[in-house]
């Protein structure tokens, strides 16, 4: 059997997905037996021009991490899509927009003003902002244009599979790679994880009936070690988050923050979490319900922590 041709690429990301790809440790050798890496800017010396020269669909699989934040990210997404038979959005940024997607609460101008003018350590009386083309005494320099809105990979090109997580856990990564190696590919559009259900299903904390009178912030209480965090009033996102990570944060006494994305069949993770919460608030009095909800200091940033670009909202409207 011919070796699989694999491309890996990072767009707007932090490098955590690259580290996660390597976290398969000794299995890397197994991967190397069956796959050749044909493009991986982080680790190997292939240039964009090399990708452009490849025949269309000559790459078997592209693992693409990072969101689409500037023109270069978009260009590479389109190029790699054309060259690859299978396109995988690897990690939360490519899948849903992730933390950098919180930028969609603001716009480019606000982001630039904050970074280059407003911040208290910045000394910039002339209010200089980075420019896409700048004349310097010796010639001209260029920078890629930053987009107003962070987009997911699937909003940019056709995507075959999604691997959730910020970053994906080792076993999730291997599940995806194993499917590719064995050729036992799931239906197009599958989110590859060990679970299609909510994280609660694999969490070892004991659950009873959920009735909440008050939400607490994680620093306000020391939760009981065995009991469901949500039942103790901590805003644990497990109820609306796909399982597969092993409930690592609840094991460490911290609430799940939702990085594995929505459970199977749910389009908008934030809306799902909100409706799940509404059903467990222990009150029928609209005023009291409002008061309980008001204890959540940052509802939008909590419900859409990882999924704002992929949600039905996509971005905030800036007046």
């Amino acid at each position: 059997m011919a070796k699989l041709k694999v491309a890996l690429y990072w767009a707007a990301s932090c490098g955590g997905c690259e580290i996660a790809t390597l976290a398969i440790h000794e299995k890397i050798l197994k991967l190397a037996e069956v796959a050749d890496i044909v493009f991986w800017p982080v680790g190997m010396d292939f240039k964009y021009a090399d990708v452009e020269k490849m025949a269309d669909k000559s790459v078997d699989v592209c693992l693409f991490n990072g969101a689409i934040r500037n023109e270069e990210n978009e260009h590479m997404a389109k190029l790699l899509r054309a060259k690859s038979k299978v396109m995988i959005a690897y990690g939360s940024c490519a899948y849903e927009g992730c933390i950098p997607g919180l930028s969609n609460f603001y716009n480019r101008q606000m982001t630039m003003e904050r970074a280059y003018v407003e911040t208290p350590s910045t000394d910039n009386p002339k209010k200089i902002l980075p420019q896409t083309k700048v004349k310097v005494p010796e010639g001209e320099l260029e920078l890629p244009e930053l987009y107003d809105t962070v987009k997911t990979l699937a909003q940019t090109v056709d995507v075959d599979y999604f691997v959730p997580g910020c970053p994906p856990e080792e076993k999730t990564t291997w599940l995806a790679l194993e499917a590719l190696i064995t050729g036992k590919l799931p239906p197009k559009g599958t989110v590859i994880s060990h679970s299609v259900k909510a994280l609660c299903e694999e969490c070892t904390r004991t659950r009873e009936e959920k009735k909440i009178k008050k939400f607490y912030r994680p620093y306000e209480i020391i939760p009981e070690p065995e009991k469901c965090l949500l039942e103790q009033g901590l805003l644990c996102y497990g109820i609306a988050t796909r399982g597969g990570c092993g409930a690592l944060c609840p094991i460490a006494n911290m609430p799940c923050t939702g990085c594995y994305g929505p459970v199977e069949g749910v389009i908008d993770q934030g809306a799902h979490f909100l409706s799940a919460l509404a059903s467990i608030i222990d009150s029928n009095d609209p005023e009291e319900i409002q008061k309980i909800i008001d204890d959540i200091p940052d509802p939008a940033g909590t419900f859409y922590r990882y999924s704002l670009p992929d949600s039905l909202l996509r971005r905030a409207r800036i007046k």
Partner: protein
């Protein structure tokens, strides 16, 4: 005007770019090092709940999320006016020490060692970690993998997750460790100390006993007389987790020593229109352009600068190595950029010794790990030493603890000006009229920036090989006249 674009570095495409402009005679006219990326954390942190910041800001960097998590958690202590319990503080420092062991190990063996073990002129195909293992032995390669894996286990056990820990809270940490875990941590710490000692021996054998390398370290091309920054404890010893930021001049004199809350009196950042990254500098000295010396506010925040800024190491074995380093280099401060690799190994030994001390601390298994804040949050600053430089997080909140303003001065950013100058100086010294541009020559330019371990390149950490480079030389009309590339 000719133009060379060192289009960095395949893995930096889109994440960094060096352009060298040549005069008509072939000498260097100017150099630009651009960072073409901005993700905007300082803006979109506004509106977030303060306690979420340790987990939000660690997504700035997937290689050093522990550093952001820690600086942010410390900023929360300050913001909520709450001290962590003694055990919590120790658990944080324990995790942080394990993180330093993994990070410094990776940098030395995968990025730095190939240049010295294989030599800067070795064929690129051999100048990588595989080459290093081939030369120094598979056993050492196995030890590198083992130490990284084991210390990652510590990070997950203490911090909750192997990448992006979740345990930091104002006033403490979320989880205690038990005796069984402690014993295993102690065992890993012992192995880490031995491994660090071995690494210093490898450096001694391979680099210090080779006069060519020692001369290169001491050469003018790789000398830069900039200010040195580093976090120190109450005895002015190097500390990664806590203390005051001390700045010492290239002449060895202390310029200032400041608490986190005072950082704005000492640090300012300059904006240039041709790059998305800002250039921090020492405010009281002032910005004088990309020049070194006592009158220029450019500073470095690297392993070497930390050792230069401190009076010594807080652990005995690291102190011995510290003394040895400075006696070899001719005293303090050492302004030799390449000695940063050596300083990193001294820090590796310190981190391992610290890890061992903490793992044996009777209080480390205490369950008293949380203080509950009761004061109204308002403003907080947290500083830690990230492996790639002093890391500052500054938050202002409303009375509910919702972020109103956020300012971040991140590890590598501190070194942007110094890094740029090091590249420029190496380019000026090596790219000369009539000198043919070879791969070895390009690698020497690259060697000027590798000591900083710029986080733009952080992901290379985990992979075989040096930074692949491609240099394209254009004539005045923009025609390509020469192309060279090096890689794995």
């Amino acid at each position: 005007m000719k133009r060379i674009t060192i289009d960095p570095i395949t893995r930096l495409e889109g994440h960094g770019k060096i352009t060298i402009f040549l005069k008509d005679d072939g000498s260097v006219a100017n150099v630009y090092f651009q960072v073409p990326e901005l993700r905007g954390f300082e803006k979109f942190s506004e509106g977030r709940a303060a306690e979420d910041m340790p987990q939000i800001t660690q997504r700035i960097c997937g290689v050093c999320p522990e550093a952001h998590h820690m600086a942010s958690t410390k900023a929360l202590d300050d913001l909520f006016h709450i001290e962590p319990t003694s055990a919590a503080r120790k658990l944080r420092e324990l995790l942080y020490s394990a993180f330093y062991v993994t990070d410094h190990t990776t940098h030395f063996y995968i990025l730095a060692a190939p240049d010295f073990v294989m030599g800067p002129d070795a064929p690129p195909a051999e100048r990588n970690i595989l080459g290093v293992i081939g030369k120094v032995g598979l056993e050492l390669g196995g030890a590198v993998i083992n130490i990284r894996k084991q210390n990652h286990w510590i990070i997950q056990t203490v911090g909750g997750r192997p990448i992006n820990p979740c345990f930091g809270l104002p006033g403490g940490v979320s989880r205690a460790i038990n005796e069984e875990e402690r014993a295993q941590i102690q065992d890993i710490a012992k192995q880490s100390v031995e491994f660090a000692k071995l690494s210093l021996k490898v450096f001694d054998d391979v680099v210090l006993k080779n006069k060519t390398y020692l001369d290169m370290i001491l050469s003018d091309t790789f000398t830069q007389k900039s200010y040195n920054m580093g976090l120190v404890d109450e005895n002015n010893k190097v500390n990664f987790y806590d203390g005051k930021v001390r700045v010492v001049g290239p002449d060895g004199k202390e310029l200032c020593k400041y608490a986190p809350r005072e950082y704005l009196e000492h640090i300012a950042e300059r904006v240039e229109p041709w790059t998305y990254l800002k250039f921090p500098y020492l405010k009281k000295v002032g910005w004088k352009g990309f020049v070194d010396g006592n009158d220029s506010g450019v500073y470095r925040a690297t392993p070497l600068s930390r050792l230069n800024a401190a009076d010594g190491m807080a652990t005995p074995l690291a102190q011995e190595e510290y003394d040895k380093m400075y006696s070899t280099l001719g005293g303090k401060p050492a302004n030799f950029t390449l000695a940063t690799h050596w300083a990193r190994l001294v820090e590796l030994l310190y981190a391992a010794e610290r890890l061992l001390d903490l793992s044996k601390d009777p209080e480390i298994t205490s369950t008293d790990i949380r203080n509950i804040p009761t004061a109204t949050p308002d403003e907080g600053v947290g500083i830690v030493e990230a492996p790639r430089g002093t890391l500052t997080h500054h938050y202002i909140t409303d009375e509910r603890g919702v972020i109103k303003k956020c300012n971040l001065i991140v590890g590598t950013t501190n070194n942007y000006a110094a890094l740029y100058m090091s590249i420029k100086k190496a380019a000026e010294d090596f790219v000369k009229p009539g000198v043919k541009i070879t791969e070895g020559l390009l690698n020497r330019i690259e060697m000027a920036w590798r000591p900083y371990d710029p986080c733009l390149s952080c992901a290379t950490h985990a992979l075989p090989g040096q930074l692949p480079l491609e240099v394209t030389i254009y004539d005045a009309r923009g025609n390509e006249v020469q192309k060279l590339s090096q890689g794995i």
